[in-house]
């Protein structure tokens, strides 16, 4: 890519970010996190963990819209590669996501809060998984804005994962559970796999197998 292009892209890409979805998810997440504090309740550790996991999911549901691009078809064959554009979008949002999650942790009940590092790892894994699923949707379909479908898929995954995950691969364990450390090894693995999948989905054009799902965009 020509020198200077990446820097010039920052301004326009900043404006194309899905601010409504991000703001809605961010606000809702903060409200849920602040719920126990606002009501003066003293939640049990498992309740605080449940709230934090729920807030992480809410944040991830906002992130699934990050790769939506209404001008996708018009900007498909341009020299600036899609992975660069996607990476820039993620880079622009990442600092805000970190600040937001820090605020969520500060709002949670300190006496019953699980280890911050471990629960932050879970939040990061869910966020990166959301982005990976979004990148996969962009890669495999012709949808310019697959965010709503990806959000539905992520919700489904969030509901089914605790129910269907094998006992030896439990992710949603409590902090006092002896499986807590092993569970977080698995969260770290999930984070790494999601990051790799997301990165692999960036390049275009599509390969042969993936094109079968892109049929909708080729009517004529």
């Amino acid at each position: 890519m020509a020198p200077g292009v990446t820097a010039q892209l920052v301004g326009p890409l900043w404006r194309t970010l899905p601010w409504r979805a991000l703001a809605a998810a961010g606000t809702l997440g903060l409200l849920v996190a602040a719920g126990p504090l606002a009501t003066g309740a003293e939640p049990a550790p498992w309740q605080t963990l449940l709230v934090l996991r729920g807030v992480a999911l809410i944040g991830a549901l906002g992130l699934v819209f990050l790769l939506d691009d209404p001008a996708r078809h018009l900007t498909a064959p341009v020299p600036a590669p899609r992975p660069v554009r996607q990476a820039l979008r993620v880079a622009l949002v990442a600092p805000m996501a970190v600040l937001w999650w820090t605020a969520v942790l500060l709002l949670s009940h300190s006496a019953s809060r699980p280890p911050a590092g471990a629960v932050s790892l879970e939040a990061a894994a869910v966020g990166v998984l959301a982005l990976a699923v979004a990148a996969l949707a962009v890669r495999l379909t012709d949808e310019a804005s697959p965010g709503p479908f990806v959000a539905a898929a992520l919700l489904l995954i969030a509901v089914l994962a605790p129910l269907l995950a094998p006992e030896g691969w439990a992710l949603f364990v409590q902090a006092d559970d002896p499986r807590w450390p092993a569970g977080h090894d698995r969260w770290a693995l999930l984070l790494a796999v999601a990051a790799v999948v997301g990165a692999l989905c960036g390049p275009e054009p599509l390969g042969r197998g993936a094109r079968r799902l892109s049929r909708a965009g080729a009517p004529g």
């Binding site: 404006r15 209404p70 078809h73 018009l74 600036a80």
Partner: protein, 289 residues
């Protein structure tokens, strides 16, 4: 402007979506001027355009654009630097102004120098008659104006090869006429491939026409040659001729028939659309040029 070296040279392009054959051994050479691409829905027009625009790779076959082969990543970059593409459904960031949107596309096309880029953006917006509307948000523009923004985005950077996928669809007659002027202007000195359902667009704009059906090229020649396919095969009658491949009542009350005329039929002047209908009918499927 004409050139001996074709801008685009493609041979044996084939592409399948699952079991569906979208492109079937398509070969063509495009030179400067406007080439029309006609065909029914599902003929493979959009797929061919997307392949030539490097948005989708073909399963088989090869092509070059201005001497660059997009099979390699480097070649694809070079092709994209020389390409303007207006897809069927462009899509916009509605809060951008026309200027901001075309400027954004210009950055994506690697026009890094801000001052030169802004000059180029103003130039293309003037070219599509949006100079006065460049500060208006896209969500406030009419459909025809949005289509012109998309054309400006395709034209920015002065590409040598312009791919337009049904740019006049959904436009009213006045807007369509205006768009024809713009496409005719864009075709001066550069190669334009125009996919359309409008045979009038082809008749008025194109120096050459390609007809596709079922993913294959059925006709490749001049509009006059396509019209000539219907010479002696269009006739008028007072009743619809049951032997006609197509027939319809005209405004004068008589029937216009296309096909193999019966003895003594009253011949009518053929049009490009008649030739197109006959090519699609399968009576003439060989490539003419």
């Amino acid at each position: 402007m004409t050139s001996m070296t074709p801008t685009v040279s493609a041979s044996g392009l084939s592409l399948h979506y699952g079991r569906t054959r979208a492109l079937d051994d398509v070969s063509l050479r495009l030179s400067p001027g406007v080439t029309g691409l006609l065909g029914p829905n599902g003929a493979g027009k959009t797929t061919l355009l997307r392949v030539l625009a490097t948005a989708v790779p073909a399963d088989r076959g090869a092509f070059t654009v201005l001497g660059h082969d997009p099979a390699s990543a480097r070649g694809r970059q070079e092709v994209r630097r020389r390409l303007g593409y207006l897809p069927q459904t462009p899509g916009f960031h509605p809060d951008f102004t026309a200027f901001e949107f075309v400027d954004y596309v210009a950055i994506l096309k690697e026009l890094a120098d801000r001052r030169e880029r802004h000059r180029e953006v103003r130039r293309v917006l003037e070219e599509v008659d949006l100079g006065d509307a460049r500060g208006r948000r896209i969500k406030k523009l009419s459909g025809g104006m949005r289509q012109r923004v998309a054309l400006a985005a395709a034209l920015v950077g002065d590409p040598g090869f312009l791919v337009l996928d049904e740019p006049t669809v959904g436009l009213d007659p006045e807007q369509r006429m205006r768009f024809r002027e713009l496409i005719a202007g864009a075709g001066e000195g550069r190669t334009v491939l125009l996919s359309t359902h409008q045979t009038e667009d082809v008749a008025m704009l194109c120096h050459r026409v390609i007809v596709m059906a079922a993913g294959a090229v059925r006709f490749d020649g001049t509009p006059a040659e396509l019209t000539a396919r219907a010479a002696g095969r269009v006739w008028s009658s007072t009743e619809k001729d049951p032997g006609a491949k197509a027939g319809w009542r005209t405004g004068t009350g008589s029937f216009r028939n296309v096909g193999d005329p019966p003895p003594g039929a009253e011949p009518a002047e053929p049009t490009l659309e008649d030739g197109y209908l006959l090519v699609l009918d399968g009576a003439d499927t060989e490539v003419a040029a």
